[in-house]
Every structure is written in C-alpha cells, then in structure tokens.
Amino acid sequence: MAVAGLDAFIGVDVGGTHTDVAVVAGDRVVRGKALTTYDDFSRGVLGAVEVAAGELDISLAELLGRTKLFVNATTVVTNTITELRGSRVGVLVTHGFSDTFRLAGGARRTEFDDQMQVNIPELVARTSIAEIEERIDYSGAVLVPIDAEQVRSETRRLVEEEGIEALAICFLTSYLNGENELAAERIVKESFPDLFVTTSHSVFPVSGENRRWTTAVLNSFVQDRAEVYLTSLNTKLREAGLAGGLVFFQGLGGGISLDKAKAYPLALLGSGPAAGAIGANELARRMGHENVLLGDMGGTSFDTGIITGNEIVVEKNLDLGPFKTGVNVVDVVSVGAGGGSIAWVSERGVPQVGPQSAGSTPGPAALGNGGTEPTVTDAMVTMGIIDPDRYLNGRVQLQPDLAREALDHALGSRFGWDADEAAAAVHDLVVANMANAVREVSIEKGHDPREFLFLAYGGTLPMFACQIAERLDIATVVIPQNSSVFCGLGLLASDFVLRNDQSVGWDLSNPGDADRVNAITDAMVTAARDEMTAEGFGADSIEIVRSGDFRFQGQAFELSLVLPDRPFSGEEDAAELSRVFRDLYEKTYGEGTAWEGVPATLVTYSVTAVGRQDRPELGAGTAAAVSPRTVEPTAQRSVYLPGTRTRAQISVYDERQFEPGVGITGPAIIDAHDTTIFVPAGTTAARDAFMNFILKREGDQ
C-alpha cells in the first residue's frame, strides 16, 4: 500500500535485456535504463532507478525516500518456465494417477509432421511423484480419507531422499471439495513447516485434473526463483531507503503485494507484456480513445493486443507451450517479426521472413559483425529508411554495402531482383506477418479494426506502423513520445487486483439450485474483501467485479458474461441469464446456431477484487489548443518507396523540430532519438498536446 505524504511513483519493468524505469515525481516524468543483471536482478533495478534519480538531480536514496509507490513487472517467472529452470518439485497425487503429467491429456500436436511429435518436458522427476491413497467422488463426497502416516512418510522421502524444494498436492475432484488436500497440507506442515506447498484447489478450483494439477505444479516450480527475486528486491529497496509501498505486477494486469506474490508466484507470469497493454490503455484514456490496437516491435518479435472500451482483454486458462494452466493473462499475441528477423527462401522457392532472428550477434549484415543473412534491418537500410549514420542515435555506424550484398545473395540473384526490389519484398512480408497478427486479435475475434486506432511502440515499429494500418484500413496511428518508458508508466496506472475462479455448475433450468450457488459465491466475495482489507484497502476503495462462464449443457467451451454484484435471485436471474447467454452465443457463432432444448449452465464463477491505488497525476500536457503549423525539412534522402516501388528524394525531419501542433505530409522520414518514423505518401504526421505523433491517411481526416 502507498504511504501518504510522498510524491514520487516508480514503475520498473525488468525485461530480458534491459531494465526500464519510469519515474513520476511531481510534474516531471523521467526515465532510467540499465542492463538486466541476471545474477541479482535488484542491482540492475537500483542502477536504472539511480539513472532516473540523476535526471531529477537527486540521489537514489532521496528519490526512494520520496517514493509513495514502487510497481514492478518481471520476466523472472516467465523465463523460469520457458527455460525449465525451476525448483525441484515433489508431488503428492491421488493413487493411480501419477502419470497424469506425462500423459498431459494427450500430448500429440495438431501438426502433420511426425517428427514434431515429441514427449513433453518433465517438470517433476518421476521419482518425486508420490501416490497417496485418498479419494473424493464425482459428487464431492470423501470416499477414502487420507492416510496421515502415508502422507508423513512419503513427504519425508521426497524431502530427504529426493531433495525436493517445494511441493504440490494434487488430488482428484478437489475442485468440489478441498478437504483431503488441506488435510494433507496440514500434515506436511507439521513435519516441514518451511516447505513451500501449493494445493491444486487453492490455485485453480476448476474441474479437469490435468490443467488444475499442472497449475499447482508450476506454482511450486517457479516458487524458489520468484522468492529469491522478490525477497532480494524488497530487501535491497528497503536498504536503499524506499519509503512507500512495493507492488508486483501480475500477467492479468494488476498489482499484488509481496506476500501474495510469494504465495502465488505464478500470477507474475507474463507481467511485462501486460504492463505494455496497461500503459497503452492509460495513454488512450488520456487521449480520449476507447478502442485501441496496440503493437510493440523489437529485435526479435512483434506483440499485439486489443483494448475495447478501455477494457483490456484477459485470456483465461493460458496454454504455455505444452503446459495447460489456469492462469489468466492479458491477451497478447506474439509473432517472430523484429528488426533482426532473417529473410530466407523456403523449399518451395517462396521468400519468408522470420521467425529466426540474427539476434545481437552476429546481428544484421549491415552491422559488419559477420552476419551474412539479410534481416529486416538490412532491408530498411537498403531502402534508405534507416540512415546508416544515425542508427541507435549514431552510436553504431551501419554499412549499407553489406546489407545490399546479403539481400542480393539470399533473394536478389535468385529472383532477378535488384537490391531495392529484394528489400521491398522483405518489407512486404514482415508487414504482412504483423498485419496477420493484428488481424488475429481483432477481425478473428469479431472486432473491426477500422474502428480502432493503432498505438505503435518499440524501437522498430514506427517504420512499419502506417503500412500495417493501411492493410487493415486503420485510419489513425499513434506513436507515443517515448516508447521505452511506456511499460513503466503502464505499471503506475495499474490497480491492485485479486482474482478467483471457481467451478459452480449451475444448470439454469433448475432455479432452485441458486441458493447453493449463492453460498459459494458469497464466500468467494467475502474472502476477496477480507483479503483486500488485509492488504490495507478501505471499504470505499475496493471494487468487486463478478463474472461467469456459460455454455449449453454438454458443450466444452464457455462464453463469459459480466454478472450483477449481488446474489442470484433464482427464477428471474435464471431466465434472464439464459436469454442473455443465448443472444451472446448467436452473436458469436451465427444466427440459428444456439442449441435447442438444452439448458445453459453457469460453469465457472469469477470474482475480481480491485483495490484503487494512488496513482500519479500524469499531466494533461499543454492541453490548450495547439495551432497547426509546419516546418521545413532538415535534409533530403533517397528512399525506395514500398508503395510505388520507385526511388525518390524525400524530406527528412528531426524529431526535435516538432512542438505540439507541428505537422508535415509524407512521403517523409522523421528521425527520432531511438527510432525512425516512416510517413508514407498521402499520410500526415503531427505532434499532439501529449507530444505523441499522430499519423493519419489523407481522406480519413
């Protein structure tokens, strides 16, 4: 919780390469950046904060001493899973079902090629899975209570012989009745009070043992590295003088406390991309836009997501590679399209771009570090869009000859193209790959991109943003003033969020069952409120959001509805919910597709408790009306234009020429501090009051 009387806010995003910091202190926003330090992440964090403090001309201790709230996003949990470098986990599982993790609900992938079909990685050594005699039946009745002695001896074996560092307790049908899991946990704690334990019903009380158990195992799997990270960061920040609250950012787009993060570290999965989405939403809100498509392009990948009505879409039950989880995360689609993506020719003779990337070594051919495969960056240098003398703000000199040579070797000589034509082919493919990803999050989910603006950030995207928008008929592109500080600011705009999902199984043709359901949901809401109160939120600053997943009885997929913040009334609510669900179903799948004569079921009930946090007042900018005017180019550059496939001299501007209100018309290039903005012909670019670039196609204004 934030402490009163302090005036600074710090958002830190610990990414794979860089640790980015945004600080809001009074009316100033400053940034800091440092390399991520893998041996002790807190060092990079403090380093980056110190850079920001320097911008404010104060010391690190002074800044932390003034800080009201410190919000942190981290890749630690995501990386622990993708690199399979977690704790040695032990599992207590219902007798007879220890192979559930290996069977994985059927691990065959939907691919033709047999050689893609390989066994899934083992998170838990088979010898560390202990079978326990216990059983709860389909109705939730305990048929076989646990055998305390067996739990005790098996846990002892796991700890002493297998050397486990954390435990997961996974029993059948615990989603209906957690009694046996809790009893086992109590017995484990008697002998090993410090052993980290996850019970499956506590992290995901939803039907389907494969997903629920995998979620529990993953939570224990990431626990150790998360704990080290969380503790070290907390200790170092306090030692360095942090006065206010410390909050950790979840992948579902809200903060949790240190203690909660320690108990449920899996919630930190995907927190970096989520911070970007929250930042985009916050900017859109300030600009008065409700519907935003967001894009972030870096060296290796392009991430995209959608915001409708200033609401961020949260994807339920994330499938993380082969692992099925019950984790909710902000829905972001990622494709392998970045500045380092390599262009190549496939066996059918079709040019392709990505997903392989040249990375930072050898990197693009134009870097001259020995790279011979042409990358997207090489194509942009060849076309003249990137100024070889100004790459990364002039820190690195590029060699266009090498870029042309690589393009010619890989594509040009084969298709009879000159270097410009080959570069344009690479350009078109990477734009198509990104446009397809944007299509996936918009059109394919029923949203018309023409109703959205495209918020483009990341160092590479401003060269392509307008071309992507054109393919999807998006009229307006916004390039925020400072891309890299974006995620950090997003963190500061976030709330404290706790979410719980629970199987309830209410057949709406049986309104009399509402009492049973209400007992469950009342308990969920009470628990959520209690937890928020314990985190220090007053009753006034807690908001409860209830939602439910519905399907026709016998189906396997659900559609979600927001539910009223009160218990169900029985008859009336059952009828109303049936009707609303039926409408949503036909809207989603087409008229006449609703199942006839089959009742709807409320499968899972979700309670999200939101605690409103103090947040910095981000200035409205010089929101007074800006008077439009234009400026003269600083130079002319020969650029091969992707639209017309012709080379032309076009105007080049410097970002610093653009005060609010200054606008120009393309074709043009704006060289900015850490990026290059390409403005195609027939598009205008102007700075708005928030210092964002707004790009619009003529005729759409």
């Binding site: 290996r102 059927g106 005699e133 496939s346 198509a432 189906q555 997929f557 597709t593 639209g643």
Partner: protein
Amino acid sequence: MSTTEYDVIAAEIHRKALENVAREMAITLMRTSGSPIVVEAKDFSTCLLDRTPEHLSFAAYVIAHLGSSLVGTQKVNELAQSMDLAPGDGWIVNDPHTAGALHQGDVSVIMPTFYGDEHLGWSFVNMHVLDIGGVGISGFAPGAHDVWQEGLRFPPIRVIRDGVLSTEWEEFIAANVRVPGPVINDLRSMIAANNTASRKLTKLIDEYGLERHKQFCELNKDLSEKVLRSRIAALPDGVYSAVNWNEYDGHEGADRLLEMRLDMEVAGDDLHFRYSGVPQIDGFVNSTSGSMLGCTMTALTVMLAYGDLPVNGGMFRPIHLDLGEPGTIVNATPPAPVSASHAEVGSHAVNLVRDALNQALVRANEPSLRRRVSGRTVDGFPAFALFGANQHGGSSVMFYVDGAAATGGPAQPFADGLDTYGFTMMAGCGMSDVETHEAQDPVFFLWRRITANCGGPGIARGGNGMEQAYAVRYAAGVAGPVWNNIAEVPPHGFGGGLPPSAGDYIVMRETNVDELLGSGLLPTRARLDGTTPPTRNKVTHLALGAGDVFLSRSGGGGGLGDPLLRELASIGRDLQAGYVTPKHAAAAYGVVVSDDGKVDEQATAERRAAIRRERIGREPARDMAHPEVPGVATVHADGSVACAYCSADLGDPDRWSEGPAVVARTTPVVEAFADWDMRVRDRQERPQVTLAARFCGTCAGALQIETIVEGWTSDAPVGAVGFAQEDEGAT
C-alpha cells in the same frame, strides 16, 4: 492493401489466409459442438476445396479426411451438375460405399462456396457424431453382418437449404439415433462451421479480387506438388512391398487373419500405391475408396509433409491409387459392412505405407530423407461404445477416445516415440480428464497410467501406451460393443528395432470395489479382486454391471535400430521411471540391473555379447558400431548393400535378407514376447504369428525384425495362409 509486383509473396500471404479459413472453421466447430469427441479427441476435420475439386486448405485434425473429403466432394460435385445450386445448400454424407466416408459415424456436411453469383467450390466439415443408429453404438457395429445393419446411410443428400436443416429430415434423423439432441445439435454446429467458411472466403476475395484469388490458388497447389515430386524423385525407382494382417472375428467364429498387401512403385516423381487383399468378409473391417485414399495420404503426410510443404490439392497429383478388383477387404462393395473401415483395414494401410516408404527411404541418397524412417505403431486401440442410464437420471453414450489418444507413437531417429501419440490419422487427439468422465457417466476410475514394456525396444524406443481401469458405479450397468484391432499381430519396428506390446482389454466381474470403498479403502491394483472370464478380442455386446471393472491397455510404437545399441543412460532412466522392467531390460536390451537398481555395465557388456553369440550361433567376427541413422540398418550404394553396424557386405541388394551373409531366425511371437515380458494376445488358432529376424552374420547386429504369419511367403497368392481355409463366412 498495397499492390505488389511480387506475386509469389502475395500468393504466400493468400495461402496463409486460406489456411486460416480452415482453422477458423475448426474453431467454430470446437466451440459450438459440445461433444468430447470433437473437443478433446479432435475427431473431426474442416477444409476448403475448389470446383475441380481439389483441396485449397485443410486443418490438420483427422488426416485421413484428406481422402473422404475429396471423394465425398467429388460425389456431391457430380450430383450438383444437374441441380440448381444456391448459397446455403448443404449435403449430408456418411456412406463409405457411395461417397467415400471413413465410416458411417463420421458425418460430413458439404456446402458450396460462392462469391456473388459465382460458384467457387466447396467447404467440407466432418465430425464423428455420438450415434448414427443401427446395431452398433456411435457408428461402430462389430456385430453387423451387412451394411444395412450398421445404421443410417446418407449417400449425398441435400437436406440443408438456406443454411437450415430441413425439419422433415431433422425429425427423421432424430427418430433413428439413440441421442437425438446432441446429434442434431452437432449437425447445426457443422452448418455453423460451413457458414464461417463462406463468410471468411468472401472477405478474402473482396480483398484480393476474384482473378488473383484463383491465380494464387493454382500457384500454391503447383508449389506443393513441386516439392512433393522432388521428394519422391529423390527415392530410388522401384517397387517396395509390404504385407499385413487384419484380425477379425466378431461373430463368435475362429479369429481370422485377413491378409492385405501393398506394392508401392516409385516411378520418377510419381508414386503408385497398388493394394490387394483377401475377399471382403461379413464383418465391419472392410474398407472402401475414401478410407484407403485417406489412410494412404495419412502415412504419406506424417512422413513426407515436413518442413515447407503446405498440404493442399497439389499433394494428390503425384499419387496414384489402385485398389484392385472390387470385392476385397481393401475395395469392398455392398453388402459388406464397413463401419470400421478406417480403423481396421484402413489403419493397416497406414502401416503398410509406413513400411514401404521406410524401404525406399533407407535407399535414398539424400541424408535428410534417410532420417525420416520410423517404426510402425499399434495403430488402433481397445475401444468400446457403451450405453446406459447414468447417475443424473439421464443416459450416457460412453465412447472414450482416451485409448486412441494413448497409443504410443513410432520411434524417431532422433528421439523416443511420443507416449500419447494416438491413432496416426488423428493429429491433436487428446483424452478427456478423469473428472470429466466421472461427472458425466456412471464410472469410478481406479487408475490411469503408462504401461511398462510397451514401446518397441530399439536404439530409439517406441512410445508407450496408457492403461486405465474404471468400475461401473452409481447405475445398474451399461452395455454395447467392444473391439480391439491389433492384438495378435504386433506391428514391427524398423531397421532392427523390435515390435511394441499390443493393446488389450480385460473385464473383471464380481469385484470387491464396493466392499473396499465401503471400508474406506482405495481399490488399488494390489487390493482389487474379482474373476476375469476370458473375453474375445471383438465383442458384439458386452454388458458391464455395477461393480464390474473394465481395464484397457493401449499398445505402443515400434522401435528403431538394434536395442543392444541403446544408450545405457536412456535405459537407466526408463528403468527408474518404471517404463521398463528389469526382466524386459535384460531380455530385450541385454541390460543387467544390479541389486541397488543401477545398470551393471560390466555384466551388461557380457550379456550383450552373449545375446549376439546366441543370435548367430557363433562369436561375431566384428564389433557393432552405431549406425549413422538409428533405424537405417543397411547402407545402400551403387548396387551393393552393407551392414550399417559393421560395414560387412550383405550381398544382393534386392534379396539380401535371404542371402548367406545374414542369419535368419524365426520364433513364435507369443514365446518371444513372453521372454521380453511384453504383451500380445495368445492366439488360439493356426496359423500362428511368428517373429522373423535377420541378423548380420558378421557382427550379429539386428537388421530386420518382422512379424509375419506362419507359412507366409512373399510369392504365394494373397490370403494363402490364415484365411483361405476358413473363408466360408465371406460374403
């Protein structure tokens, strides 16, 4: 969108968009259908075809629908020539005899696609519905003696107009199936998926323009054809033959072994598949053109459609299918029953193609092709379709595809087979959670685990299968057919790899499940008690009462390469995990485990040497080295063939396996499997099944280990053993 001069790029983007259409059709079907057969087992497919008809895109679920969708759409296309065709028309198709369906339970809805007024082609959706009437349940009728007993047959019938299923037909179908609600709703879901196709395709053509759309469709088919042809051309010309036996008698007679053969000819960049088989029989195993084409394409696709080879109509162009004279099990005609055509004779065709392709692949010069060899698999599973009242006052159709998902996959040259690979034709096949079964059906699961000694031993081991057991509880009982298609003739591995354990099932009656649970004890395998009367392999009607236990074990995948060369570390891991038992490790891998459970390297070296002496009856003259590619046991070059383990010349490259450089041994499969501690059904009738092994006479390395039927010779006519003496039941 911006125009581009580079058609090859625009065409590639267009191709991806067409694949998205097929995928979105699949998503619509999965989301609107509730059936676990669709959602978890992924027993469905969606695709787009043009007017020819050729495939434009195909979603990779049931791969064998490559065949049924083509044959079915060809049939509808013919019919449509003499009809007024309108958007929103739709045909139901499920007849294997007249319209290429895989079996009657697989129902297709085929609808035309239009752009404005122009008929562009077809969209195809197929799913396995919960029931189609007849003597079987869920479309499988081992008890049927002819096709009319097997349930409803829809040669293409136009039952959908303006996107709506006709009320009369709806009532007719509802009156003829056991669970009308879900079946009718599934038909609606298939219409919804076809609607998705029309909508998305129109948008796509709006974007590209009609002419460019057509041009790109042709270009992309041509490109796929070109790649497949170049891979075929890299295989040496010649005829590669394979033989297999389908097991059947669900009619209380002696179990019969039905021979089927494939002669695959590589001729330049064309592939000819010539099948032959014994006369069709009066049981549901017979196959027809849709299954045979689909199963051929299944094996071809999983083995050769790797990397940059998008699956579309271009892939069919180099393929030529010859099913021989009508009236055999591979080319059945009415009244032959066919309700498991894809899962019995069809799935054996998958193994025949695997085998023939393996023979061609090892002879390829191109190393990347030699690395595509793979073992056969137990391409089938112990299946049941049971029906009865459940604990919720309703009724349950229990058709668990769990067993299909749980068959072990083929060993690959670079890795052990996938443990839950499943039926080869069902990519992405999953299994339902135990909690899902228990919530819906009157069952109580006792265990679900990987069975030991299941995957075929080899340098690379085949994937393991799953074993599960449940007791009937909360209801009086359920009943229906039970069948298992590969129990007596286990599929062989390749290049010296051994066959896997076969699948089976056991029924346990008068058990103590209730008694144990009543006293708060879990019915574990050790405590479970009851009687296990012998069961036949295919049963028309099995009744399970309360307290009876049904235990099924899926088979595994074949191994690759001589198991005596498997890394000790891998065997150690398998032992520790319980995937193999010490007895199996000793007999099949020559690995000796000491008292502390660790591999004894010294004793292992001695035991492996002893096994090699035993194989050839003398001290091997040379050491065995690891082959370049596990599973490639013979090295072919310039008219010669050598042992890949020791480089010894093996003589005549075409008849090396009969030559003097190798030592041949045959053993009854039942005996060999008993030695190896593996499972195969003990066949009670003659002829027996034998294991025919070929070892290098110089180093004793395993070159080829096959399962064949006693008395079989490659030059005898098809069906000379195992069938002819008892074919009075054939129709």
